[in-house]
């Protein structure tokens, strides 16, 4: 265990300065007193530039995700939770059990150390709750104006159980499409906080680690074809990606898609489509139709899947279009988002 009291205590009233990333005493102090203490685990405590471990048997899966968000703290979470959940989810969407995380921080000079402490505490909390420790990391500090407070890149590693073959190109005509819960909560909560829309309603990010839900789903229906978390670009982007990868079409039913009332309301108000809004604690599953009910029941039995629903089916379509049967009884195409989602004028 490295010595921990060679430096004076870190003053959390201070701010991140360039010296905190310069490789000198200040950096050692920050790493020891903030990162190690908060994220504490056996492998991190080895104090090496890498973490050494024996992987369990099975196929390994790795995923990395850079997290940037304004504001850093939002209703229902902060960038710390997000950076743990996001990568755990990306690993889990292969059907894997996530094992470990690595984290790299880019800090902007001037970031209050108390904010950083808050964020790292959130990471620790999320990692502990998920049982997926952060076992190695790195920190850099850039000059004020060259970053937006704090960027966190996390890499996750996991192991896929035998017999599970979950991949984006496996959707087949006739398969059922399921979603694990309400859509748009994260994107709308962040937007409302960022733009200070002044809307007095309960908008909370759905940021959550989904690996336990996935484990239950894999155990119940190992024949599942695809899993993906509809983050940026929302469900519209995820379904289009899967349709392209599998060279199939998809037909979904608007009335079956769960969206919370306040989220629907804000989307209505701003002219946004909930299908384009980001989620951080939801997944889309595609499985053979005859397993759909069992999968649905399994999802609904888990706290993170209690609003799960079967929303449509995979069809043959050389255009690989995602089509929506509207609430009104017509049809329309569900397109990718072109760029940034922009509210309409009138």
């Amino acid at each position: 265990m490295p010595p921990t009291f060679i430096h004076p205590a870190l003053d959390l009233n201070g701010r991140v300065e360039l010296r905190h990333g310069s490789g000198g005493r200040a950096m050692a102090q920050l790493i020891e007193q903030l990162f190690w203490r908060t994220l504490d685990n056996e492998l991190l405590r080895q104090g090496n530039d890498q973490a050494l471990f024996q992987p369990p048997p099975g196929r390994l899966v790795i995923s990395t995700d850079a997290h940037v968000i304004t504001p850093l703290l939002f209703p229902g979470g902060d960038i710390g939770h997000l950076s743990v959940h996001g990568t755990i989810n990306d690993v889990a969407m292969s059907g894997a059990r996530p094992l470990y995380l690595a984290a790299a921080f880019i800090l902007e000079e001037g970031l209050p150390l108390s904010d950083l402490a808050h964020i790292v505490a959130s990471m620790a909390q999320a990692a502990n709750a998920a049982g997926v420790p952060v076992i190695t990391g790195d920190t850099k500090v850039v000059e004020r104006g060259k970053a937006d407070g704090c960027f966190i890149t996390t890499t996750g590693i996991g192991v896929v159980p035998e017999g599970v073959m979950i991949s984006g190109e496996r959707a087949t005509a006739g398969d059922a499409i399921l979603v694990s819960g309400t859509l748009g909560d994260h994107g709308i909560a962040v937007m409302a906080a960022r733009e200070q829309l002044g809307l007095e309603m309960e908008l909370i990010s759905d940021s959550a680690a989904l690996h336990e839900l996935v484990a239950a789903m894999v155990a119940a229906v190992p024949q599942m074809h695809c899993l993906r978390d509809p983050t940026r670009g929302g469900m519209a982007a995820t379904l289009n990606e899967l349709a392209q990868q599998s060279q199939v079409g998809m037909q979904i039913k608007e009335s079956a898609i769960p969206v919370r009332e306040p989220v629907r309301g804000v989307c209505e108000l701003l002219g946004l489509d909930p299908l384009h809004v980001a989620n951080e604690g939801k997944l889309i599953a595609i499985c053979p139709a005859d397993h759909a009910q069992r999968l649905l029941a399994t999802m609904r039995a888990h706290p993170l899947g209690q609003d799960a629903a079967i929303i449509g089916e995979v069809v043959e379509d050389r255009h690989c279009f995602v089509q929506l049967h509207t609430q009104l009884g017509g049809w329309r195409v569900v397109d990718w988002l072109g760029g940034e989602q922009l509210p309409r004028i009138c």
Partner: protein, 454 residues
């Protein structure tokens, strides 16, 4: 559906303005069904108590006509949004239309507003109608008809005068000359801020007293009153670093221009009826459209933006056409009165003057079709405050936006559609805004109108 403009109903400063607006009743109720998750909470209360709760203002401030709006309680106590998208009612309306149309003829109906176009595609309204009822898409998308030169002007303001430029979101991607957009100007270092309401722009001006803050004001009569309020507020508080680049347009002159063109024997449009503007009409009322049946002999039904509104208005037009009728009707009675919002009109008269002419993309120079700041507010006019030398604007070769905006071509008739011109890389303005006909075709209707079959 009323989106960015709607936020002004939330601003207390603007409350007095919103209140007499009968459309405001609808907007506020919509907000309520949006904001008030717990409708049960308000049951049994009177309309003004509900509004008081919603807006946090004393009940003394609640005056007619909203206060006395018939059916206000019903508005509030129903699930507003779903009510106008109900599939069962849609089926009934569609069946009535199918039953009443004469299969031997076509019904070409122009929906004037982008909001209608959007609703038709977003909800698949056309799927419910018989094939001989055809929607012709009109020019009512303020982003689409903004000429490139105005956008070039704005980009110059942002880049050369280093102003803080405040714009509504859907303008940011509109292509100006040389493929430049406000977003690309931002990437080059311009300070472009996306705003949700004109109040946001005022807030920025207050927060950055050393910066010149310019509001890129755009839109038809719906978005004009909030601009007027921003202007009077800035004047009252001597907010000297704030100015307005005014691009507000008037709807009736555009309608007149289209109808005049449609009577041109060389390019007959053959419009049988018109779905008239919805939110615009809450401000200007229904009277300004009387010339459509009177002078052009075409029936016009003022139509709301919800899909059931569109279907209901379609049925009303089909009935008129079958009877050889030619009247102005108002389907959107829950929000539009004949005289409109007098208070907003008075404010607009006070603050703006009508320009002699203004260029509309696709429609050319139209007389008396746009607003400029009144000379008494010249100090707040960005056009006079900042000298700009404009490059010559060049429209994209082969782009048929002009004819699409006039309803003469369908988007899929344009050779660029879906090929060189796509939402990710728009060449014409109709592909940019979600309310542009081309973007609506592309986003929502690719399946049924693939370019190769047209």
């Amino acid at each position: 559906m009323m989106t960015t403009a709607l936020k002004y109903y939330l601003d207390e400063d603007l409350y007095a303005l919103a209140l007499p607006l009968t459309g405001g009743a609808e907007a506020i109720c919509k907000l309520f069904s949006v904001v008030g998750q717990n409708l049960g909470d308000v049951k049994g209360r009177s309309g003004d108590q509900v509004l008081q709760k919603l807006l946090g203002v004393p009940s003394a401030a609640l005056e007619s006509p909203l206060h006395n709006h018939t059916g206000l309680e019903n508005f509030i106590l129903m699930k507003y949004i779903d009510e106008f998208r109900d599939a069962a009612v849609a089926k009934q309306l569609a069946a009535a239309i199918a039953c009443e149309v004469d299969p031997a003829r076509q019904y070409r109906l122009m929906e004037f507003c982008g909001g209608h176009t959007h609703a038709i595609f977003r909800y698949g309204v056309a799927d419910l109608l018989p094939p001989n009822v055809v929607f012709v898409h009109g020019p009512g998308c303020p982003v689409c008809v903004l000429p490139m030169a105005r956008l070039d002007h704005t980009i110059q303001l942002a880049l050369e005068h280093e102003v803080m430029l405040c714009s509504y979101g859907d303008l940011l991607r509109v292509p100006a000359s040389h493929g430049q957009t406000l977003l690309s100007a931002k990437a080059q270092g311009a300070d472009v801020r996306m705003i949700y309401s004109t109040q946001d722009a005022l807030g920025l001006a207050r927060a950055h007293p050393t910066r010149q803050v310019v509001l890129f004001a755009i839109g038809f009569e719906t978005t004009t009153p909030p601009t007027a309020v921003a202007l009077t507020t800035a004047a009252a508080h001597a907010l000297e670093n704030f100015s307005i680049f005014c691009n507000h347009l008037l709807t009736p002159p555009a309608l007149r221009a289209i109808l005049t063109a449609s009577f041109d024997v060389n390019s007959p449009l053959g419009i049988d009826g018109i779905l008239g503007p919805s939110h615009v009409s809450t401000i200007i009322g229904s009277v300004p459209y009387q010339f459509v049946p009177d002078e052009f002999g075409i029936p016009l039904v003022i139509a709301g933006f919800e899909p059931l509104d569109v279907l209901h208005s379609t049925l009303m037009l089909v009935r008129q056409i079958n009877q050889g009728g030619c009247r102005l009707e108002n389907q959107y009675q829950r929000a539009v009165s004949s005289e409109g919002n007098r208070k907003a009109q008075a404010l607009m008269q006070d603050v703006f003057v009508v320009r002699d002419q203004f260029e509309w993309r696709g429609l050319g120079r139209l007389p008396h079709s746009a607003l400029a700041l009144h000379p008494r507010y010249a100090a707040f006019d960005a056009e006079t405050r900042f000298a700009v030398t404009l490059p010559t604007s060049t429209e994209t070769k082969g782009c048929e936006c002009a004819q699409v905006l006039r309803g003469q071509l369908k988007p899929t008739d344009c050779t660029l559609f879906g090929r060189a011109c796509q939402p990710d890389h728009p060449l014409g303005a109709c592909m940019v805004s979600a309310e542009g006909a081309c973007a609506a075709y592309w986003h929502y209707g690719r399946f049924r109108t693939p370019p190769e079959t047209n």
